[in-house]
């Protein structure tokens, strides 16, 4: 009888890990291929369509970057919380709140402040609104011990219904001819775009956030406390670190980053609050963060990769009339395979042959 089991590797090999990623992506591709066959499409054609859709022209490439911006911010949001073992699955709701904050400031405050102040205020409002939404879950966790996975997840629904209420109701554009959405934001509240593309200033913001986050984690006292709390809470308590306070601040930071993603969507892409704000970036951010194993630099790359899947996946729908859910299946297969390869970089499969 032959059996196998996992044995922990003493030193995980770096080269092995990269090889593992390559194998994982290949494997996910195969799994996706099976799904294409099941929905009656030729996998090779489908992948060609996807690749052409994502990388076929400069415009397509720019669209990848456009979609990667909210994914980077949401990935960083999930990643920073997970560093201290806090599971923020409320990126979607915090993103929506960030959108509400940005739109609210742009619509109602912009006429009353100097134009040069509008954009900074919009950015700040996006961050603060997202941070506030996460703070609600954070304060429940730190004072009453309520599990943040449940609260952040449920707050997503509250946020989504709230934003719908706003653009269907009180904030609806009276000149909108029944179209659900707010009035278009004043131009001073728009994030500047790279000419000829939809790439906006949010990209710089997201990259800056990644760099800052990495610097905070590795260089500052606060980051050090975060790393210790994430690795061993007992040791952190022994060292007298303010654990609950750190958790609360990190929750706010995490929510703020997701809020920034909502702000960039509203003030960089849609220019108004309308349907299509909550399209799942908050959830995909979870995949981004774990694909990158929570490393800020990796999150930037993982966001670009998943954005290319999204852009390519859209083409499947447009060109081959495949259900849009196929893209989600690909995402899922990828996460499954990459996390699996991670397991094998830390453990070794051992075959056992017993005489029995």
């Amino acid at each position: 009888m032959t059996r196998f089991r996992l044995e922990q590797r003493v030193e995980p090999s770096t080269a092995g890990r990269y090889a593992g990623y390559a194998v994982a992506v290949g494997l996910a591709g195969c799994m996706g291929g099976i799904v294409f066959l099941l929905v009656g499409a030729n996998p090779l054609t489908a992948y060609t369509v996807m690749a052409r859709g994502a990388f076929g022209s400069l415009h397509d490439l720019s669209e990848i970057v456009v979609k990667a911006i909210p994914l980077m911010l949401c990935g960083l949001a999930v990643g920073v919380a997970a560093k201290i073992q806090v599971w923020n699955v409320g990126g979607e709701g915090q993103l929506v709140l960030g959108g509400i904050g940005a739109a609210g400031v742009a619509l109602f405050l912009a006429p009353r402040v100097p134009p040069s102040l509008v954009l900074p205020l919009v950015v700040a409002a996006g961050f603060l609104a997202g941070a506030l939404w996460a703070f609600l879950a954070g304060i429940l966790r730190t004072t009453l011990g309520v599990n943040e996975i449940l609260t952040t997840l449920m707050l997503n629904y509250v946020a989504i219904y709230w934003v719908e209420h706003l653009y269907f109701g009180p904030w609806r554009d009276p000149m909108g001819m029944g179209f659900p959405g707010t009035a278009i934001l004043p131009e001073v509240a728009w994030l500047p775009r790279l000419p000829g593309t939809r790439i906006h200033l949010g990209l710089a913001l997201a990259l800056l956030a990644a760099v800052l986050l990495q610097a905070v984690l590795s260089r500052t006292r606060w980051g050090y406390e975060m790393r210790v709390i994430g690795e061993n809470e007992q040791a952190a308590r022994y060292a007298g670190m303010p654990i609950q306070r750190t958790i609360l601040w990190v929750m706010c930071l995490s929510g703020g980053l997701a809020g920034l993603a909502g702000m960039t969507e509203v003030s960089g892409i849609h220019y108004r609050l309308q349907q299509g704000l909550a399209v799942g970036y908050g959830y995909t951010g979870i995949i981004v963060a774990w694909l990158a194993r929570l490393h800020p630099g990796g999150i930037v790359l993982a966001a670009l990769f998943l954005a290319s899947l999204l852009v390519g996946g859209d083409q499947l729908q447009a060109v081959m009339h495949l259900p849009s859910a196929v893209g989600l299946v690909l995402e899922g297969a990828l996460l499954f395979c990459v996390l699996g390869s991670d397991l094998f970089s830390r453990y070794r499969l051992r075959w056992w042959t017993s005489r029995a």
């Binding site: 003493v10 006292r221 050090y224 690795e231 061993n232 040791a235 007298g240």
Partner: protein, 500 residues
């Protein structure tokens, strides 16, 4: 001698860069208490993990009643009647004693008969003298009590060979004596016991047979009657003469660094854990609190460390109330926690980060961590305290127990503390490492007062100037270590007899 119950032949086990076991032969007789003696890293635990099915040997075989057996998991070994109590208890802290005993039962039933399991636990604990409440939550028991649960768990599975990895490290003399009674009883029933230790007195007291390991090899296999004196055993263990003495010159006592006045405190459930504690620790002295584990020491230390609070009374740190002591005062306290792996260090971070753990306030400038300076400091500490490590970038988990303790000691002493609180500082360390820690603590008396909490009487008597005995949360009395008559009273006081 009759057919040995278990026979190990040529067991070899390699880890990357280490030959932990090198062709070890060992026979365990039926009904024997077999001591496995050796320094940290001699390969005792590895060998026993092979026997208990946790590791697979690279070479060699295990014979049970003369028949070769192969274990793929601890479960296989358990089915063959071999069970091991590990140095660090492996119980579910949130579960009750009965639930822990039931964990992993082979009985293929969906329904666990709790009443039955509880009765069994009660019966076994009476038969073998292992008192423990089946309903108690394991996380709230002392380490000594948790160890009893581990033994009960194995007895419940009816093991014929019981392996104990340094069982006495967390016990006090009374508890050790009780454990030895239990072990003799188990052996009388025809079961075998393997007892891993590096305490020579215990070996001479309990063992029917002694095997000494050194650097992964078996260097001696003898019976206690053949041993002329302990020094000989010690020499076998370390391969050289050990100086079983320490440098302790009296230091004139200085100012009071820590004072407790009628302090009381509660445990996590709100029950009183210690009452009316009054004592003072002066610079230049070692003040020991000795007692059986679970008599309120943990809660007292938590209150002193600031992670819990006193319910009444006044505590003064460097003459000022402890509650209002700022970072600066706290920074002058060196604290050596009992659990070095889970509390005193972070296994997943490098040694620089581990040195920063309690000193990072000193390496911060406007919130920015001076990592380069911290790394240089770590390198210096590793050299000065002779920590065997690849360097400041090695991970915490790559250090052995003794080296980890050296690192923690180095870190705490590098703060130049005025008060050192040491909780079981040599628990689980070999003779060499223990001497190191002891001598280092004694050297610190020049600038610090030392509060030593220990269950190891040898340690307390070797180091202390004054000894307080704790029982059920109260001090039974404070004795001068220089007074031989007083020392004789420690035994009764540990069991609750007040100072006459």
């Amino acid at each position: 001698m009759a057919e040995p119950a278990i026979c190990l032949r040529g067991i070899t086990k390699r880890f990357p860069g280490v030959l932990a076991n090198d062709g070890i032969d060992l026979s365990i007789g039926t009904g024997m208490i077999h001591a496995l003696l050796g320094e940290n890293g001699a390969g005792k635990t590895t060998l026993m993990n092979v026997l208990a099915g946790r590791y697979r040997p690279d070479a060699g075989e295990i014979l049970r009643a003369g028949v070769p057996v192969r274990f793929r998991s601890p479960r296989d070994a358990l089915r063959a009647g071999i069970g091991m109590v590990h140095q660090h208890v492996m119980l579910v802290a949130n579960h009750t004693v009965a639930e822990n005993v039931a964990l992993g039962l082979d009985a293929p039933r969906c329904l666990l008969r709790w009443r039955h399991i509880e009765d069994q636990v009660r019966r076994l604990s009476e038969t073998y003298g292992l008192p423990v409440d089946p309903h108690a939550r394991v996380g709230e028991l002392s380490l000594g009590q948790q160890q009893r649960v581990e033994i009960l768990k194995l007895l419940q599975r009816n093991v014929t060979l019981l392996i104990l990895d340094e069982p006495t490290a967390v016990l006090t003399p009374t508890e050790i004596a009780a454990l030895f009674v239990t072990l003799r009883r188990i052996a009388r029933e025809g079961r075998s016991v393997i007892f891993i230790t590096h305490k020579l007195d215990e070996v001479m007291e309990i063992a029917d047979r002694i095997t000494v390991l050194r650097r992964g090899r078996c260097v001696a296999d003898l019976v206690p009657a053949d041993v002329d004196n302990r020094r000989e055993l010690a020499r076998l263990m370390v391969g050289r003469e050990v100086l079983l003495d320490i440098h302790r010159e009296p230091v004139p006592p200085g100012e009071v660094v820590l004072e407790l006045r009628n302090c009381s405190g509660d445990d996590a459930r709100g029950h009183p854990a210690f009452r009316n504690m009054s004592f003072a620790v002066r610079r230049g002295e070692v003040f020991a609190i000795v007692g059986v584990a679970g008599n309120g020491q943990a809660q007292l230390l938590a209150a002193l460390a600031g992670s819990a609070s006193f319910s009444s009374g006044q505590a003064l740190l460097f003459g000022k109330p402890l509650e209002s002591a700022g970072c600066r005062a706290r920074d002058q306290v060196g604290y050596i926690p009992e659990d070095r792996a889970a509390v005193g260090s972070v296994s997943g971070l490098d040694l620089t980060d581990n040195v920063l753990l309690t000193t990072y306030h000193r390496f911060c400038r406007r919130g920015v961590l001076q990592r380069r300076a911290a790394r240089a400091r770590t390198q210096g500490l590793l050299a000065r305290f002779q920590v065997a490590a690849a360097g400041p970038d090695a991970l915490g988990r790559q250090l052995s127990g003794g080296n980890l303790q050296k690192l923690i000691l180095a870190r705490e002493l590098s703060k130049e503390p005025r008060l050192i609180i040491a909780d079981q500082p040599t628990h689980g360390l070999d003779i060499g490492a223990t001497m190191n820690v002891w001598n280092e603590l004694l050297r610190q008396r020049a600038r610090a007062g030392i509060l030593l909490v220990s269950g190891d009487l040898t340690e307390v008597l070797s180091l202390s100037d004054r000894i307080a005995v704790i029982f059920r949360g109260e001090l039974m009395g404070i004795l001068s270590a220089a007074d031989p008559e007083a020392i004789a009273e420690i035994g009764p006081m540990l069991a609750g007899v007040r100072q006459g």
